[in-house]
């Protein structure tokens, strides 16, 4: 996702980080300001918009009925898709999803799936035949760095806001009834991404820092503070010590964020 960044700017970012500071005045372990709005798309069963600094991600959840996967007949289905909409950045192009949007969707998916955030067994209408399918569609509206954390946060916020249609079965047909119930949830994973510049770790890299970091690591942390998904990205590397340090920081940041959001 890189465009060119001047060497002068790169040097400036590196020098500041050496002193424990960042271009936008944050400390190395600080998040940008986070704003979450829920239920802003009335036609969707659930929705949320997250502002992470200037990064803006909208997630809509739609619920339909469908068939379960043959190996999990007693579970509903979760599908996560991400669109890097061309209006969000000059580096995004219209067309089929590229590897960046597929990676984004799959990393968010893994955080939700592996923490068993959705109580999938409660989404079964008829075992092996009919279940609810939860579509989580991530829409990136403005790209200013760290799409993973913003999208993961927006996805969970949208799921928390999701209402399932009530239904009854009439002659083997599913009839949608009046009224809604809350989507059954068991966990609220929070994903924390760190970038590495000159061997130093920074939390929540924004766009210009993303151009400067050689690698990033994203960790999804569940309610108990355990790790439930990890993805390393970028063409650099981490030492084993840096990985453990990143895991420690991620746990600390996720706990603080969870408290602040009251999740």
């Amino acid at each position: 996702m890189s465009s060119l960044i001047t060497r002068v700017r790169l040097k400036q970012i590196e020098n500041l980080i050496e002193k424990g500071k960042r271009l936008d005045g944050r400390g190395l372990g600080d998040y940008r300001e986070i704003k979450i709005e829920q239920g802003i798309i009335e036609k969707a069963e659930g929705s949320a918009r997250v502002l992470l600094g200037k990064t803006e991600v909208l997630v809509g959840v739609k619920i339909e009925t469908g068939e379960p996967f043959p190996d999990t007949p007693n579970e509903g289905v979760l599908t996560v898709n991400a669109e890097l909409v061309p209006l969000a950045s000059p580096s995004f192009e219209a067309g089929p999803p590229d590897e960046n949007s597929i990676e984004l969707a799959r990393v968010v998916d893994r955080g939700i799936r592996e923490s068993k955030a959705i109580d999938a067994e409660k989404l079964v209408i008829e075992p092996g035949k009919k279940v609810f399918v939860v579509f989580v569609d991530i829409y990136v509206l403005n790209h200013d760095g760290n799409l993973i954390d913003a999208a993961a946060l927006a996805a969970v916020a949208a799921l928390r806001n999701t209402k399932m249609p009530n239904y009854e079965i009439e002659n083997g047909e599913v009839k949608i009834k009046q009224g809604y119930t809350q989507l059954p949830m068991r966990a609220y994973p929070i994903t924390v991404t760190l970038g590495k510049i000159n061997g130093k770790l920074i939390v929540d890299p924004w766009l210009e820092e993303e151009e400067a970091i050689d690698s990033r690591i994203s960790l999804a942390i569940n309610d108990e503070g355990n790790i439930c998904a990890i993805q390393k990205g970028g063409v650099g590397y981490f030492t084993p010590q840096q990985i453990l340090e990143a895991a420690r920081i991620a746990k600390e940041k996720a706990t603080a964020l969870r408290k602040k959001l009251d999740w």
């Binding site: 043959p70 190996d71 999803p97 590897e99 597929i102 990676e103 969707a105 799959r106 893994r110 799936r113 592996e114 923490s115 690698s215 690591i217 569940n222 503070g225 355990n226 790790i227 439930c228 998904a229 990890i230 993805q231 390393k232 990205g233 970028g234 063409v235 650099g236 590397y237 981490f238 030492t239 084993p240 990985i243 453990l244 895991a247 420690r248 746990k251």
Partner: protein, 247 residues
């Protein structure tokens, strides 16, 4: 689908295939197996059978993708339709696209990309049979294909997964353990630089279990690295002998 096994670890602490928790599956590697590729390698890691080929440095197509100050590394990880129990469509799945990306990012730190500006190197990986841990075996083979192509590298890249089955942290999960187990942590390292170039995880681990899994995976990578070196040596000893005979 195979039946769900009752116990993944028996009373003696042995796994489904009789391995100890910290034991790798048997690994066989051959370098230089494809005559049309600039470099290639074939790996059998347990029941995984994977071919990797490297082409380049060569002119890039399409040309506009070239970079003025470095080579561009491209990677395609692909599974044969017959490589798994139920036929896989040959069209690239989202999983394959993600894996192609993470495999490329695992290999790129080892390559001196700045030595060949305005060129491209393509890595093609074909999984002929899959049995859990294909991304790691693919990286192990692809690193050798790059080396065999004579592309300057800082180090080889060796990869191996650790994970958790039942309550035990184990090395090198096979397919059933991966599916039924509670966590999977694939890791790739540059062994001489002590640098982790691939790290993913799914499942739930405590901080301590995660630390143990990463340690175990790195130990596994080091063992695989020894096999990699032997395979490279075997290939070039053969070349040397051929030359001596010709003389």
């Amino acid at each position: 689908m195979s039946e769900k096994p009752e116990k993944l670890i028996d009373k003696k602490g042995l796994r489904l295939d009789g391995r100890k928790p910290d034991e790798l599956r048997p690994i066989k590697i051959e370098v230089g197996v494809l005559s049309n590729a600039d470099g290639s390698a074939y790996i059998e890691h347990g029941k995984n059978k994977i071919l990797a080929a490297a082409f380049g440095p060569r002119e890039m197509h399409p040309k506009h993708l070239t970079l003025p100050d470095r080579m561009v590394l491209r990677c395609r990880y692909h599974m044969a339709p017959f490589s798994v129990q139920e036929r896989k469509s040959p069209a690239p799945s989202r999983r394959e696209i993600e894996l192609s990306k993470v495999i490329r990012e695992a290999l790129e730190p080892a390559v001196f990309v700045e030595y060949y500006p305005r060129t491209g190197v393509d890595i093609f990986i074909e999984v002929l049979q899959a049995d859990g841990g294909t991304r790691c075996a693919s990286i192990t083979a692809a690193a050798l294909a790059l080396a065999d192509a004579g592309i300057p590298m800082r180090d080889l890249v060796a990869a191996c997964a650790a994970g958790k089955v039942g309550d035990t942290v184990v090395l090198d999960l096979m397919d059933t353990e991966d599916k039924v187990g509670s966590a999977d942590v694939p890791v790739a390292i540059m062994p001489n630089l002590n640098a982790v170039t691939l790290l993913q995880m799914d499942g739930i681990l405590t901080f301590e279990e995660f630390e143990r899994a990463v340690d175990l995976a790195i130990e596994g990578c080091k063992k695989i690295y020894a096999v990699q070196k032997e395979a490279l040596k075997a290939r070039y000893m053969a070349v040397k002998q051929e030359e001596e005979v010709e003389e």
